[in-house]
Amino acid sequence: MRKLTTSLCAAGLLAMFTSAPAVADNHADQIALGKAVYMGKSRGNCISCHAIDDPDANLAGNQGPPTIAMKTRYPDKRKLRAQIWDASKNNPLTIMPPLGKHWILSEEEIDAVVEYIYQF
C-alpha cells in the first residue's frame, strides 16, 4: 500500500507540471456548466431531489433539503464540495448518490455545480 501510494504521489506531482487541467477559466462559463449539471437528467440531476430558486427549475423533487442559504449552511465551500462528492460519508443510508466517489460527475463538473449552487 505504502509503496503504491508513494508512486501515486510521484506520478500525480509529475502530472501537475505536465498537463494543464481543462478548467473553465471564465467564472460565468463555470456557473453555466454547474447549472446544466444541476438540471440535467443524465448528469447531476440534482433537481430531482433539491428545489432551487432558479426560474429555469421546474418540477423539483423534495427527497433532499432545498438548495438555499448555501453560504450560511456551508461557510467552508470545501465542506460543501465534500458533501456532493460523497454524501454517504456523513449518512451511510442517504438516498443521495456519491457523485464524486462513484465518478458520476467529473471533478470539473463538481467544482462547477458548487459554484452554481453557492449563489443560492
Partner: protein
Amino acid sequence: MGLTLAAASQVTSAADSGFNLETVDPEADRIALQKYFKARFPESEISDYVNGIYAVDAASREQWEELEEFPPYEFDVEKGEELFNTPFANGKGYADCFENGGIGIRQNYPYWNKEEGTVKTLEQEINECREANGEKPLKWGKGEIAQVSAYMAWTSRDKEFDIQIPTDDKRAMAAYLDGKKFFYAKRGQLNLSCANCHVQGTNIAIRADLPSPQLGHVTHFPVFRSKWGELGTLHRRYSGCHKDSRSNPLKPQAERLRNLEYFQTYMSNGLIANGPGARK
C-alpha cells in the same frame, strides 16, 4: 467498557428481525414493516396498501380512481382469459397444469419448491406448463405472459396472500434472507437500495414521481403502467428498478429476483391479491 458494549449489542440483536440464517425472523420483519408505515402514515389503513402510492397520497388517488373506473387492463384480462382457455396443440391447456384448474390461486405465489430447491413464481410455471405441453415459452416481460397472469390474478381477487416459508428446508429461509438482503443492500453507480426509495423515500417527490411503499408492492401485479402504455410483469418492473440504480440489471426470473419476490410477497401476507393493477 468493551464488555458493556458487547452486552449492549447483544440486547439489540435479540430484538431485531434477524440478519443471518440463524436469527432471521420473517414475521418480525413483516410486523416491523407495518409498524414503520403506520408511524409514517397514521391515516392509512394497512389493508389499503394494496393500492400502492394511492394508499398514502390523497392527491393522486382521485385521478387513479377515475382511471380505475374504465380500467386500462380490461382488454388484457379478456385476452388472458381467451389465451388461458385456448387448448395447446396437444389438446391440453393451462388449467391442466395448475391446482384448482388455475382459478383463484394467484395468492399462493411465489412458493418454495422443495424438490427443485428454488422459489417458483406464477409466470415461471405458466411457461413450464407451455413447455411441458410442447409449446414455446413466452417472453417474460410483457404480452401474452402478462395477459395470462392478469387473468389468473383477476380470478384470485380478494384472496389473502399467505406465503409460507417451510421450516423443514433451510434453503427456503436462505432464499427469503437473500431476497431481504437484495432489497436493503445499496447497489449500482447511484448507490441505491430498493429501500432508499420504497421505505425511507416513500411518498417523497423524486422530480414529479412519488415512490410507492414496499408494503403491498406485489399484490396488484401484473400492472398496466401508463409509462409503458401496456401491461407488464413484476419482473419487468424489477429489471427497470434495478437499472434505475445504474446497475446492470438481472434478467427477469433470475434466481435472486425470484428470492426478492418471495421476500416482498411475504411482506404482503395478510393483504389481498388485487391484480392486475393500474399505475402511473
